[in-house]
């Protein structure tokens, strides 16, 4: 199975819209949403009648203080680097689950043995299935970390559920260059990077390209809303040429897009300039995967 990851660096460039459209145009049977912090693909791609299996996701175990054993000596506070211990009204201490990173150094120093590790649910994974289609997604609870591990879980759920190890899988990535992006880059055959012809779009594209190059992933660029600024578009194209990054397509600005998406519909079903452009990109995908 070949895996395509859709990334952008900058948020709001059109990753999810592009992913949803390609999934339908290419009749993709295996796809995933690795933007676990703010997943959106299900709003277009998951149908109500599909089956769904949810599982809680456990992040790092965090510390927990037994209030009966705690004497309020404060030795834990002295060593905590994450400001994760709060004094209670009775003078004992308790762990703030939002701040605790699970290092357990407090457990090591507690003279009363009052602190232990416990499981911490930081999100949930969902796998939708319908006939031979599998869609894996997840939601990270707010304030949580460990998004990299949840991303890996989403990908693993996709791999485990796919009946045949053939065809193309498409993964909607997350913005930025941090741990969820880095985790999503593993085992990827082609990273489609969506950018826009704006100064911030180009700026952020450079950083995501740099991040992906660490993994020697094959990259292809999609310039979205390409006609909103001709000069900006030329700057992006010049950068791509300098860095030997192939441009797989340009998508024009199209007001039909938001109207379609807001109805929960797929652009692939609409005849408009942007869907035509995405259609051309879809046609080129197999050859880009072969290169």
């Amino acid at each position: 199975m070949k895996r395509i990851l859709v990334l952008s660096g900058k948020g709001g460039t059109g990753k999810t819209t592009l992913t949803a459209t390609l999934v339908q145009m290419l009749q993709i049977k295996a796809f995933a949403d690795c933007d676990v912090d703010a997943p959106n693909l299900h709003l277009i791609c998951a149908k109500k009648e599909w089956e769904r299996e949810d599982k809680p996701f456990l992040g790092m175990q965090i510390s927990f203080i037994d209030q009966d054993k705690c004497t309020g000596c404060g030795k834990c506070v002295e060593v905590c680097r994450f400001d994760a211990l709060v004094k209670t009204a009775t003078g004992t201490y308790q762990v703030n689950p939002f701040n605790c990173e699970g290092c357990a150094v407090c457990q090591y120093v507690c003279p009363e043995n009052a602190i232990s590790s416990k499981d911490n649910i930081t999100g949930k994974t969902s796998v939708y299935t319908h006939e031979d289609t599998v869609f894996s997604t997840a939601q990270l609870n707010m304030g949580s970390g460990n998004s990299g591990k949840l991303v890996s879980e989403v990908k693993k759920n996709l791999d485990d559920a796919v009946p045949k190890n053939e065809g193309i899988a498409i993964i909607d990535g997350s913005p930025g260059i941090g741990c969820p992006v880095i985790a999503s880059l593993s085992g990827i055959d082609l990273a489609l990077m969506v950018t826009e012809p704006t100064s911030s779009g180009l700026h952020d594209l450079k950083r995501i390209v740099k991040t992906s190059k660490i993994f020697a992933t094959k990259i292809a660029i999609v310039i979205n809303k390409s006609d909103i600024d001709e000069e900006g578009c030329q700057l992006v194209e010049a950068y791509c040429q300098e860095e030997h990054l192939p441009i797989i397509g340009h998508i024009p600005y199209d007001s039909t897009v938001s109207k379609t998406i807001n109805k929960g519909e797929n652009l692939a079903d609409i005849d408009c300039p942007s869907s035509k452009a995405i259609g051309k990109i879809a046609e080129k995908i197999p050859s880009f995967l072969e290169k």
């Binding site: 456990l58 992040g59 790092m60 990173e101 699970g102 970390g145 460990n146 998004s147 990299g148 591990k149 890996s152 741990c179 880095i182 985790a183 880059l185 593993s186 660490i214 993994f215 020697a216």
Partner: protein, 120 residues
């Protein structure tokens, strides 16, 4: 010689697991005594540093060689640092991989990648 590899179940006919860091088990096979032992991978549910911890588990088995598809650079540092020889796995059962190794037909592993960082 003791050789180790990542495996999805406690069965010599299972394939070598392409996922190294979070594999559920490691198989340790002694080619002289033909004894096979399976160790649960302590890094299986690790949030971060799985490659390192998995590689450490391999080092702690005292093995001389490891068969894998690939490792991240951190796991490679540990394996190479312990002077364990690594060999490229073939898409076949653990038993077949071991047979190929003893016949001198497995190539040394050079597919080291930068790693899939999970640490928050």
């Amino acid at each position: 010689m003791k050789v180790a590899m990542a495996i999805t179940e406690e069965n010599l006919q299972a394939k070598v697991n392409p996922t190294f860091g979070r594999t559920p088990y490691f198989l340790v096979f002694n080619t002289e005594t033909k004894e096979a032992t399976y160790r649960v991978n302590p890094a299986m549910n690790a949030s971060g540093g799985a490659g390192i911890q998995a590689a450490q588990a391999i080092v702690d088995t005292g093995c001389d060689a490891v068969i894998a598809y690939r490792f991240g650079e951190n796991a490679a540092k540990v394996i190479n640092g312990a002077q364990i020889k690594s060999y490229k796995a073939i898409d076949a059962s653990a038993e077949e991989n071991i047979n190929k190794l003893t016949a001198g037909e497995l190539s040394p592993l050079s597919d080291i990648h930068p790693g899939y960082h999970h640490a928050n």
